[in-house]
Each structure stands twice: as C-alpha cells, then as structure tokens.
Symmetry: C2
Subunit: 289 residues, 2 copies
C-alpha cells in the first residue's frame, strides 16, 4: 500500500475531516478524496465514514493501526539514519482525574523528548481502551488489566476516591448525628459517571436515588471547585482533595475509600520513544501508591 495514502488516512482520522486533512497535508481536498478512493479500491472495503467528524470504519481501523505503527517506526528510523529531527506524535488516552493529578509530570517529560509531540485524548478510564483498540492512540490509562491484542499491560497503582463535601453542606444534611445521603445534593462528572453510581450502592436505595438533586460539572478542576463552594457532595481523588481536607475547607463524609486500579496499556512495539513514554508514565504513577 502506498505510504502517502496511509498518511492521508491518518490525517483524516486525526483531524476529523477531509478538508482539514487536506490543509494539514498541503494538498487539495480532491487529492485527499482520490487517495482514499484508491486505498478503498485496493482493499475492496469502505475505509472512512463520510460523517462529521469523519471516522474510520472497522476495516479502516485495521489500516489505521498498522499505519500508525509504521509511521512511528519510520520516523524513528529516519531520525537515527539522517540525524534529522522529525517530530513523532505520541497519541495517548488518559482519564480526566489522572490528567488533573499524577499524570502532569508526563507533560514535562515529553517536552524534553525533543523528537516527540503529545496528543492527548481525555476519556473515562472505563472507555479509554476502545481508543486503543481502534488504533487512535498508542497507549491508554485504563481500568482494564487484561492486555488487548497486540498490546502490553502494566499496573500503575490505585486511584483512591473519597466522599467529600463542605462542612456546611454536611451539617445542613445531618439529623441527630446521622448524615442523610438522600437529601444532600450531589455532583457528577457527566451522564455516564459509573464511579458516582457504583459508590452510591449501599448508601442509598433505588427509590431514593431517583429523587436526588444532581449537578453535572464535566471538568476535573471545575468539579473540585463546585465541591469547594458547596454545590454538592462528590467523589474526589485523594491526591486532589488532600490540601482542601487539610485546610478544613472540605470534610470527609465517611470512612469508605473507593479504589480504582489503573493500568498502562500500550502497543507491543520496539520503539525508543514508546519505551521512554512508558518509563515516564510509570514514574509519574508512583504518586498513586
């Protein structure tokens, strides 16, 4: 298969449109379209969904995965042979709470790699693996320990979440020394906040849950801030809540610790950059304990 055609496929998937891919590659949109048609004729399959954003079909994903591996190896080989600096994009899927806490040093490490850029995709830790399966990323922070096909998996540690609220909110919903979880307003990150749901089991029965007041703040830092100003109680990573618990701005609501084990899954591939990235992620995760 023509490497220029494969590069074009990657640009479409990364940019989400034929037009932007054309601009990035410095060619006309019709040239982009012709290259994809040529690839589709060669493979006898439809490779790209012409939706907005454009995305790879299942057959296209097989090609995307292979093309990304090849692009990484080729760029590294060229850099070594020619001593010419060629930036390789390292695409990584990470959950929002990790990016807001222990993952931060990885940004500085990659800044020091010289020959790499970092392309982050932020996704719930229960869903990052689908990005890895699709070939959109070469590595993912995930809850899943079992390696997906063609990948290696390393345990990173445990993300520990605590139920917290402002002392004022807690006191307003405490009757006779007992906290009333049913009346206290709550926070969730988004509609599919599996963490928040799983933690409520045992604290609230279903009949009460549906009447709860729930605010939604889909930003890790915004979520912490909404908790700090008393919009609701929430589950916050210990790493993030620590300073506010110490200062007394936030209070623990119970002794339960929700433990989310995190793993680093990445392509099984001989690549110096991927090795360095893996070492950086593992070092940063030492804060998880």
């Amino acid at each position: 298969m023509n490497p220029v055609h494969l590069e074009t496929l990657l640009a479409i998937v990364d940019e989400g449109s034929f037009e932007i891919a054309a601009a990035v590659l410095g060619v006309s949109p019709s040239a982009v379209s012709q290259r994809i048609k040529a690839l589709e004729k060669e493979t006898g399959r439809v490779l790209v969904r012409r939706t907005s954003p454009a995305s790879a079909t299942e057959a296209g994903q097989v090609l995307v995965q292979a093309a990304r591996r090849m692009a990484l190896l080729q760029a590294e080989t060229r850099s070594r042979l020619q001593g010419r600096l060629e930036r390789v994009p390292l695409s990584v899927a990470v959950n929002a709470d990790s990016l807001a806490t222990w993952f931060r040093p990885v940004l500085a490490d990659v800044a020091g790699f010289e020959a790499a850029t970092l392309r982050l995709h932020v996704e719930d830790e229960a869903h990052t693996l689908s990005l890895l399966r699709r070939g959109d990323v070469l590595g993912a922070i995930t809850r899943e320990a079992t390696p997906v096909s063609g990948c290696d998996s390393t345990p990173l540690g445990i993300m520990r979440y605590r139920a917290v609220a402002t002392p004022a909110l807690r006191d307003a919903h405490t009757r006779g020394g007992v906290l009333d979880w049913a009346t206290m307003p709550a926070l969730r990150f988004g509609p599919n906040d599996a963490l928040q749901d799983s933690d409520l089991e045992g604290r609230l029965d279903d009949s009460v849950r549906r009447h709860r007041a729930v605010s939604q703040i889909p930003s890790s830092e915004g979520f912490l801030e909404a908790t700090r100003v008393g919009l609701g109680w929430s589950l916050i990573p210990e790493l993030q809540a620590g300073p506010l618990l110490e200062s007394g701005e936030l209070a623990l609501l119970d002794a339960t610790v929700l433990q989310v084990p995190l793993h680093w899954q990445r392509w099984r591939l001989e690549s110096e950059l991927l090795e360095r990235l893996t070492a950086s992620v593992a070092a940063a995760a030492s804060r998880l304990g």
Copy 2:
C-alpha cells in the same frame, strides 16, 4: 401530551440511554420504551434515535425544548404554591476556558439558589449554540451575538488571548532576535481548535504550517500546565496566564491580542431561577472587561 411521557423523553436525552433513564425514573426499561412509543404514535414522528448514546431526532428536539420549558415553569410554580423545595436542573453550555476562569463564581451562586442544580455541558464557544438550538440547555456562553429563535442575547465582554511560551522555548527558537514561529512546537486544545488556527494567519504561511509540531491537550488547566513546562507555545486567556507572566515563568511572544467576544444567550421565559442565573453570569463576566 402526557407530562409523564415528556419527562421520560427528557430523561433519555439527559442520560443518553433507555436503561439509565429507567433507573433514574424508577421504572422498568420496557415502561420507558412504551412511553416513547406512545409519544411517537401521538405525534406520528420518530422522536428518539436508538443509538448509543440515544438522542432526539429533529422532531424530538421540538418536543424536548417545549418539555424543558414546561418542566422549569411547573417546578417553579409547585415550589411557590406548596412551599416545597423542588430542585430544578439549570442546563448551561459553557466553553472550557470560561469554566476555568471567570465563570467559576457562578458555581457558588447556584449553590446558594437552594432550589436548583447546575448541569454544565462543556463545548467550544463556536459550538455551544447548537446545544441551545437543540433544547439541550436553557442558556449558553457563545461567540454569536444574534439571538437564536425564542432566546435573548446579552454581551458579556471580551475574552483576551495572548501567545505565550516559556522563556527557554522562546529563546531556543529565536535567531538573530527574530522568533521563528515555524520551528517552535505548538499546542492545540483539540482537532477543531479554530482559535489556534485563526491566530496563525499572518504568522505562518501554509507551506510551513503543515510541517509544524503540534501537541494536543484537551483540558484548559492541562493546556496551561503543558505551556508552563515547555511542551509548546500556545494561546492562553489573559485571565489565566496573568500570574505566570508576572512571575516570569511564561513570556509573551508578541504584542497581538486575540479578542473573542462572548455572549449569554438564554430562553426568553418568565422564570425567577433563569433571571437569577442570568444575573449571576453577568456579574461573573465583569472580570472580562
């Protein structure tokens, strides 16, 4: 139309699935399915796309919009008549940079409303209006001044962006006192970062742009941190970059100020909660200047 059926439609759109909507409403999934079928029979239209996540069709959006307005008015009326506290969800679309900066006090204000929860949707300021048009939110922070049908629009002020980098990164790409934008690695928020693209016009010609090294960090706070550790230069709101510019950790790259005017568009509706929310947003936006 049966108000219980409309409430069910809203739950599906908010939760993104028939199953979760059933759990939230405390009924069986088949009851949810029957209610939607009844609504669809009554209107003679398909109202819900049975995709993952589930979403309203165009006909469904008309009903969603009306149902949300009614739900807000009914809840306020009941609260007033019965003196019973009923939490009303206030759904708002906001851009990530606003949520990370001037919008923060709105969280505290809504926490003090007593009868409301806040449901935030984070979206690029060029795209928040589609959420308002679809009826997913009752108010939106947007670049667009012209009010959409059935809405009022208020100017909030100007979000001012500056091109910044670490002094080390700037110096490494300065030759003979001239900054070389083409070789300096850059940051973008996501694939459709219109801001970053528009700002490059005049600084770089197209032939150079396509060879640039671009890292991607889709989190406002992560974006600032990536700039601080030298992963690339970026466009940062003055409100956010201020302290790092003063401490010398970041440096301005040129004198250009990219100005993004922001507006608050919300339903035209007699609602005390919506009025209070509008006042809160306007007060917080006074920081924009």
